[in-house]
Amino acid sequence: MPPSAELTEGAGVAVAAESLYLVNLLLAPGLGFVLLLALWWRARAGAPPLAAAHLAQTLSGSLWAGILLVIANGLILLLGGYQGPNVWVVVITYFTFCHSMLVLLGAYGLSKALAGQCWRFPLVGRPLPAGCGKA
């Protein structure tokens, strides 16, 4: 048997949340986040534990993505500019590594949502709601 119970209620919202998180990172930055925000707004009251868990993780993950990818780059630009080659080495390596790690969290989250399981994003996630059981 799987290690955590399979939940079915709210699976559609959970999968949609993880998909929009990935859309924001991979296809349509900004638009994906707005749609995720709209989904969270509509479903936030009375969402089943599975949906609530994935909505919370993806929203938090997206906000962290904004901080890690946009604000960190902005700071580098403000502090040092993009004139020196060493700045490019740091920025591109950092961006690629950070971005792909965030995408992997989404891929794993999506697979959990498809399997009807709650899962907390490591480091950038939110605590799981009651009713999720052992994740």
Binding site: P2, P85, N86, T96, F97, K112, A115
Partner: protein, 468 residues
């Protein structure tokens, strides 16, 4: 082991691991030659070390694929292998031909090897990755045909499954595409054009089918998820692989003299190439999440999960990084390509072969399903040592590549190639250290076959979450 003839996979796996050790050894020599130019010169010049490093990789992966097919197909076809004797004969032919070729690279100057092997009769030598003498290439064709006959007859006479048919299509494609290595036109643009039909359509085409089918097989066996579910994923993944990968060949045609439209076709389709790798990640984790049992071979499950993640990172993310034509204009042939090559080959193909070896070897050595716990602990250490060090190798080469592009091709006052090489030497040193850690991981991997070999077999613990 369900079928006695599956045992023929064992020598293939042992040879694969042996050649893998050789490949990494030459990788370390090569890495040092980047910073100490005359290291081991003239005994092993840079061009020879590089040729041995890449050729050994290809040969040991082929041994791994063949071993995997010989283990997988009888179980899928639910019958013994058509001819175990032929499989063993081909093993020795391939091993001896491979060893003689490598010795030829090391002991005879390359031009002398060309003369010695009568390359002028049918010239095929001198192209990157396809440096093998023509006679060796012919040997590879004979081995591949005999192998396909053996596997094909087994499948035709037995149960046909999506896994075995996708594997067969992948192996057939591997053999057919290799035939373009015999086409060697004088026109350099045409030469490059068809050379990629071997290289690209192998690694970003038919090899992905082999990868997908082996991963599906191991996931069926280790998770107990319904075959139908896994096969549906496999269909979609291979469809996306071929849709994106075939026209994605265009990303190699940007600057070789091919028509300009390839910059559009190549950019668009290769930008989609990460999709099948992304799906593979979701697929692998989803199957493990939905598993019906906990397999006692946790190391094999770890390798399978690792394959999905690292293939996505190496082939998907690092491939996308420099695949668009306007970016590739600056990055083409720099250390960014080397970064992508290292992580993609390790993530997609090295790891899938090690996944299969990890899954099958315990049964080939007489166990029921898994090695002992001690053996698995050492194997998992090797997993993490090799995987983390390849991530660092990739990051260091990426850093070197970005600096190289900037200093050599982007800045207002571009520097010459060798001056830039001196400036990025620190990255090469760090890469060498990471390479040495990789070697430690590989030694641990080999040791895992000997540690705890007399201990009792590991058993699954209820509720154990394996590698997930």
């Amino acid at each position: 082991m369900q079928y006695q003839s599956q045992a023929v996979a064992k020598p293939y796996f042992i040879a694969a691991i042996g050649l893998f050790v050789g490949q990494i050894l030459f990788g370390l020599i090569l890495g040092l030659q980047y910073v100490i130019g005359d290291f081991m010169f003239p005994e092993i010049p840079f061009n020879v070390a590089r040729m041995v490093h890449t050729n050994l990789l290809i040969v040991w992966l082929l041994f791994g694929f063949m071993g995997a097919a010989y283990y997988l197909v009888p179980e899928e076809a639910e019958r013994e292998l058509f001819s175990p004797g032929l499989a063993i004969l081909m093993f020795w032919i391939f091993l001896v031909a491979g060893a003689l070729t490598i010795l030829g690279y090391l002991l005879v100057p390359y031009s002398g090897l060309a003369e010695l092997t009568q390359n002028s009769v049918l010239p095929t030598m001198g192209r990157e990755f396809l440096e093998q003498p023509t006679i060796t290439k012919l040997g590879i064709v004979v081995v591949a045909l005999a192998f396909l006959f053996n596997i094909g007859m087994t499948i035709l006479k037995g149960r046909k499954t999506a896994v075995s048919l996708v594997l067969l299509i992948g192996l057939l494609g591997l053999a057919v595409m290799f035939l373009f290595s015999f086409y060697n036109p004088d026109n350099l643009a045409k030469d490059k054009y068809y050379w990629w039909w071997v290289v690209h359509l192998w690694v970003e085409g038919v090899w992905e089918l082999i990868l997908g089918s082996i991963l599906a097989f191991v996931l069926i066996k280790t998770t107990g998820v319904d075959r139908e579910v896994i096969e549906k994923w496999l269909y979609v993944i291979i469809a996306m692989t071929l849709i994106t990968g075939i026209i994605g060949t265009g990303h190699h045609y940007y600057w070789i003299g091919a028509p300009e439209y390839w910059q559009w076709w190549g950019s668009i389709f290769s930008a989609l190439e990460p999709i099948p790798f992304f799906m593979m990640t979701v697929f692998a984790f989803n199957m493990v999440n939905r598993r019906r049992r906990n397999h006692p071979n946790k190391a094999a499950v770890l390798w399978a999960m690792g394959t999905a993640v690292m293939a996505f990172l190496g082939a998907g993310v690092w491939g996308f990084l420099h695949t668009l034509a306007p970016i590739n204009y600056y990055t083409h042939g720099t250390q960014i390509t080397a970064a992508h090559g290292h992580m993609a080959f390790y993530g997609a193909y090295v790891m899938i072969v090690l996944t299969m070896i990890s899954y099958a070897m315990p049964m080939l050595r007489g166990r029921t399903a898994a090695p002992s716990n001690r053996s698995q602990v050492v194997e998992m250490w090797s997993f993490w040592l090799m995987t983390v060090s390849i991530v660092f190798i990739t990051l260091f080469l990426t850093g070197a590549g970005i600096l190289q592009v900037y200093l050599q091709r982007y800045s207002g006052d571009p520097l010459p190639f060798m001056v830039v090489q001196d400036k990025i030497a620190m990255f090469y040193w760090m890469r060498e250290v990471a390479g040495a850690v990789f070697m430690v991981g590989l030694i641990a991997y080999v040791a895992s076959f000997f540690v705890g070999s007399r201990d009792p077999e590991a058993t699954a613990v209820a509720g154990d979450s394996a590698a997930a």
